[in-house]
Each structure stands twice: as C-alpha cells, then as structure tokens.
Subunit: 221 residues, 2 copies
Amino acid sequence: MGTDKHTTASIYAILRDRICLLDYPPGTVLREATLAKEFGISRTPIRAVLQRLEHGSLVTVRDGVGTIVTDIDAAELCDIYEMRLKVAELIGVLAPRDITPDDEAAAQALLERAKRLVTHYSASEYWQINHAQHALIADLIGNSVLRETWDQLYYHSARFWYREASRAPDGVAQDLVAELSEISRALRARDARAVGYIQRNFIAYGFARLKAALNPDQPIS
Amino acid sequence: MGTDKHTTASIYAILRDRICLLDYPPGTVLREATLAKEFGISRTPIRAVLQRLEHGSLVTVRDGVGTIVTDIDAAELCDIYEMRLKVAELIGVLAPRDITPDDEAAAQALLERAKRLVTHYSASEYWQINHAQHALIADLIGNSVLRETWDQLYYHSARFWYREASRAPDGVAQDLVAELSEISRALRARDARAVGYIQRNFIAYGFARLKAALNPDQPIS
DNA sequence: TTTCCTATAGATGTATACATCTATTGTTAG
DNA sequence: CTAACAATAGATGTATACATCTATAGGAAA
C-alpha cells in the first residue's frame, strides 16, 4: 500500500482531509521525513505541500521543531464564522452561474443520503455529505475570486465544527436533512440567492452552537 | 550589491512589488536560477517564494518552461473588482479596531504627500502613497480573516490599476487627494464604517475607468 | 535538592546533482 | 517548398547531503 503514484495535488488533498477530519488533531506534529517515507517520495515535494497548507492556516512550520497542526482560539473562530456569514450572502449576488437540472439532481441525491444518515449515523458519511454539499454550492459561484475565498474559509473552519459535532452529534443529521431540503427547494426554484442565504442561516446556527459550547452559560458542575 | 542578507519574506515582498509595479509585466518569464543568482542563494528558497506568489495568483509555474507573471482577462478583472467592492463594505462592519489619533495623523501625512503629488507627479511616489494608504486601512480591520482577504485582493489587482493609471495619469493624483481627504474626515469622526464605504466608492470609480478602457464605447477608428 | 549550563539527537532550512519535461531548431521525407 | 519528426538546450521537478536551529536530557556547581 502507499506505492501508488501520488501527485502533490493529491497529497495536499489527503493531508488537508486528515486535518479536517481530525485524524491529525490540533497540536499534532507532522514530520517531513515521516510523510516522505509514507508516500514514497523525498522531502522536497512534501515541503511544498506543507507550505501550501501553511498558507491556508491549517499548519505552522517551525524551524527545528516540525510542522504543527494549528489550533484556534475563540476570537479567531469568531472571525472566521463572521466572515463566512457575510461571504455566504454574496454567493447568489455575485454573478452566479445558471442552475441546471443536474444541480437539482445532485442535491436530491445528497438529501436522500442525509435522510438515511438520520437512522444510521456515521461520522464518515456525515462528512462526505457535508463536503459534497460544499462542493455543490461552491460550483454555483460564478465569480472565481469569491469561490476561492469561500473554499478557503470552509476548509479553515471545517474541523472545528467537526470537533463540536463529534462531541455532541445529537441533531446534526436532522439539521443536514433540513439544510439540504431547503437547498433542493431553492435549486428547483432556480434561486441562487436563496441558496446563499440558506447557507448563511445554517452557518449561523452552527456558529451559535459553537459559541454556546465555548461559553457554557449553564455550567452546572 | 545584492550581497545583503535576504530572508524568504523579504524576497517575497521584493518580487511581489516588482510584479505590482510592472517591473515584471504580465507575461514576463522568471527563471529560478537567475533569481537565485541575483539574491545570492540557491534555487530552493526561491522556489518557496515563487510557490507563494503562485498561491496569490501573481504567477504561474510551468514545468519545463518557467515562472510566468500572470495576465488577466476582462472577466477575471471584473470578478476581482466586484469582490473588492463587497469586501470593502465589510471593513467597518466586522469588528474594526478603535481608531486612534495616530491613525488620524498618518492619514493627514499621506494627504499632504498626495497634495504635493498633484503639482509634482511621480509614479513611484504615487504608488508609495497608495500602498501606505492600503496598509493604513488594512490595519484598522479587526477581523484577521477579513484583513487577509482584503490584502490578497489588493495585491491581486494592484498592477492592473497601475497599468491603466500609467496609460492615462490624468487626475489620479487629484483623485488620491480627494480619497485621502475623505478618509481623514472619517478618521476624525472615528467612523470606521465610513472608511470602508469611501474605499468602496473609490474602488468603484477606478473600476468604471478600467471598464471604459476595456470596452471603448467610442472607437472612432 | 535545585538550578544552570552544556552536549546531543533530531527537526527544518539550504545547496546541489540529477531526472524529467518543454519549446525550438535543424533535418529529412514528401 | 512544406510538413513532420527527431535531436537538443534549458527550464522546472526531485532526491539527497549538509548546515542550522530547537528542545531536551544529563551533569556539575551552588
């Protein structure tokens, strides 16, 4: 295993997903030599990947120490989420591309998967649907600069929502069903602006939940 | 010359500025070996810098060919500017930091420099003031994610505005005076939201001018 | 026992040789 | 003369040896 032909892009996606899915929790120290050995290549392309991850604020490279998966404080988490709320509102505003029946079908398929998730929960399946939903919506964005920003914000914050959802998974599947139902409705109506606002709202719900977890108002200990 | 001790960060800033100031016009092919020789280091740290520039969409690295300074088509220029218009509106909205007398003084100093520019124009001085104004406003942004996005958008589009301003420099100094006057007024009023809206407006003025240059409505040929 | 200093293991940063890829130029077949 | 192809120069991509930096463990002095 691991003897496949990896490209820097594929290794980047692999490491990014490991960080997002908390296979590498915040604080994890990655070693270039170890990763190089795992993927059967030298340190040079591994370094390029790590530097790219560093640009996305997913890791910090420290000379003589290693590459450390970043953690986040409450203030920075708020910064990311407040930004995402505002950027979501732009999705349907800045020249979205035309919605097609394919988009509708893709959302419907995700909705069916989410419904199955309610009765048979799986963290892995939850995140696959989540990622697919993100990709679906990002693909609607016609403005390339907005799409890039939207993507970066998503990957910057995903793991912190994942951590919270893993701690208290109650209702996340139902919420995902509700979100995808609304998105399907908006796509049927060919209303890209509605899609953006639905995203905004569900990001806000998640944000409220994260804030409640950070500042537990009812510490009945 | 060039024997000073450069760091990757300083080399990054140098090359970024050369691209922004059109010392390296779009289409220029940069060679790693040449740059390495110029800065007295090996290709390795040069490659790290070029990859960072590529991440900011300032260059494209092509295997076997070289690192090419990116050009831009009308559609992408519109994408960037439409995004900047929207992001500017967020400057005073997403938790700006408190405005201090120092900010006021800095803006006033820039205004004085801009006034001198009207009678004694210098492209170099124009861009130093422009950059300083950008840094001043970016520093007001309390949301770190917004600040990063704002910065990236600025450096992504700066050279295209510079190219247009160089072609027809009439009025750019006066416009800069007007913009800095308004910014000074907003800072005196401690009104960060006003600063953001002023930025939005002058970006819109520049955008209109760029569009007019791209689609000359009066092609009397 | 505590504290400070020093030696060291092991990490990233850098330089360089080599592999691979691209564009071009020159040659040859039609 | 034109077009296709092959050889080649020179670029980036990769692997690796070496330089430098960091944290830590261990020993000596107070």
